[in-house]
């Protein structure tokens, strides 16, 4: 019976992928035990004991590699676990750097390399797009008001104002562009990406690269309904050949290893690359629901078992997120607060 640790179990209004991963793993093998790695005692996954068998509070990655890895070592030594599937941006680099150390402890991962991880920067997208034969919206990287103003007059309104890794806003005029610029700079710093708005269908692909140019399945979707935070609430599977070919081209060109989300805008004639995330998206259970259990396949790859590669899902399958609630004893909360595990 395998034990697998999963992070991102914060199933809140900006959900992490952990609960979707846990649900997929349990669907792949009901005997499997899932350990949840949480950063706050209030993360809902801690209380979803039908999916997360045991939970642990982790130190923030920003507190340092040693503290973080020591916590994993403690969990490994006390309870034993075979693999870990990290799902949050902020901890990925730490896991990538620590992958060999974890491997030596007997904790398997299936992660991108650091070079692959670096491709997620929006300033790298033009280079990736050119290599795989897709387009990117006209993009200008700016670090000052003067450059912002110049970029905006070059691209015209509306224009996208984005952080290099996080945040994206559509600005209709200079006042909005300046406000978004300031907001992103104050939270994430420079540089800022100023980008042309391309009209078309926004589509995403989730997949797992095998690290040798192939993959363990891809699923293409379109978000039909999003929350005010831009998170998918309803979606539909699509089979857009150009989109899927672009995603395959990406996996093949970079020999991508591990989970990824490939975000694009598809027009009648072209695919525009918008973002690459080196992890599962929070809606990853959608792939499992249409018969391509990517988290379970990734786990198998991590454990050295050759996963299934078929990915002939049906277009027109609907994904519906919904809110739910549960009532439990104070006991569980008390335990995780006082001992850091439950």
């Amino acid at each position: 019976m395998y034990r697998v640790a999963v992070s991102g179990i914060n199933a809140v209004d900006n959900p992490g992928p952990g609960v979707g991963i846990a649900k997929s793993l349990k669907k792949g093998n009901r005997e499997l035990r899932v350990f949840g790695l949480a950063y706050d005692a209030m993360e809902p996954g801690i209380y979803m004991d039908w999916l997360i068998d045991k939970s642990f509070i982790m130190p923030y990655p920003s507190e340092g590699e040693e503290l973080f890895l020591n916590r994993l070592l403690y969990i490994k030594e006390k309870y034993g676990f075979d693999a870990v599937i990290p799902a949050l941006d902020a901890e990925l680099l730490l896991f990538i750097k620590g992958a060999q150390y974890l491997e030596n402890l007997g904790i398997k991962t299936f992660l991108p390399t650091q070079e692959q991880f670096n491709l997620r920067g929006k300033d790298k997208l033009p280079e990736v797009a050119e290599r795989i034969g897709v387009k990117v919206p006209k993009t200008v990287v700016v670090t000052s008001y003067e450059e912002l103003s110049k970029a905006v007059s070059e691209l015209g309104f509306p224009v996208m104002i984005k952080g290099i890794f996080y945040k994206a806003y559509k600005a209709q005029n200079m006042a909005q562009a300046t406000a978004y610029f300031n907001s992103i700079v104050s939270e994430w710093g420079y540089p800022i990406i100023v980008q042309e708005v391309v009209s078309g269908e926004e589509m995403n692909v989730v997949g797992v690269g095998d690290g040798e140019g192939g993959h363990f399945g891809l699923v293409g979707i379109k978000k039909l309904w999003i929350t005010s935070l831009g998170k998918i609430w309803t979606g539909v599977t699509v089979k857009n050949e150009k989109l899927l070919e672009a995603a395959e081209g990406f996996v093949s060109a970079y020999s991508w290893r591990g989970a990824f989300e490939f975000e694009c805008i598809a027009t009648d004639s072209d695919i525009y690359l918008i973002e690459i995330n080196p992890r599962f998206p929070a809606w990853v259970y959608f792939s499992t629901g249409v018969g391509v259990n990517l988290p379970y396949r990734l786990l198998q790859a991590a454990l050295g078992v050759e996963p299934e590669r078929s990915w002939d899902y049906e277009a027109g399958k609907l994904y519906v997120r919904y809110t739910d609630d549960l009532v439990t004893d104070m006991d569980r909360f008390q335990k995780i607060v006082t001992s850091g595990e439950v």
Partner: protein, 84 residues
């Protein structure tokens, strides 16, 4: 394969485009026309069929068909059907 051939069309008039994820609804007349388009019928044949099926003149049927085809084009559903 033409775009129309890829569309999923239900008997209730629900149209799903698997390439874009977009969906549309059409009334019974629209559904009637779409089915004939999928069968590869010409505009002339469709006008003929419309006058037989519904109580409309040739002119009216022809005008409505042109309008409907334009709507399909606007929504990107007739991209590759050059002969229609």
């Amino acid at each position: 394969m033409g775009k129309l051939q890829k569309l999923a069309i239900s008997d209730e008039g629900f149209i799903f485009d698997p390439e874009t994820g977009s969906s549309f609804t059409v009334n019974q007349t629209g559904l009637f026309i779409l089915k004939l388009l999928k069968e590869g019928k010409s505009q002339e044949e469709i006008v003929e069929a419309l006058t037989e099926e519904f109580d409309v003149s040739r002119e009216e049927a022809s005008r409505d068909l042109i309008d409907f085809l334009e709507q399909l084009r606007i929504n990107g559903l007739l991209r590759e059907e050059k002969n229609v």
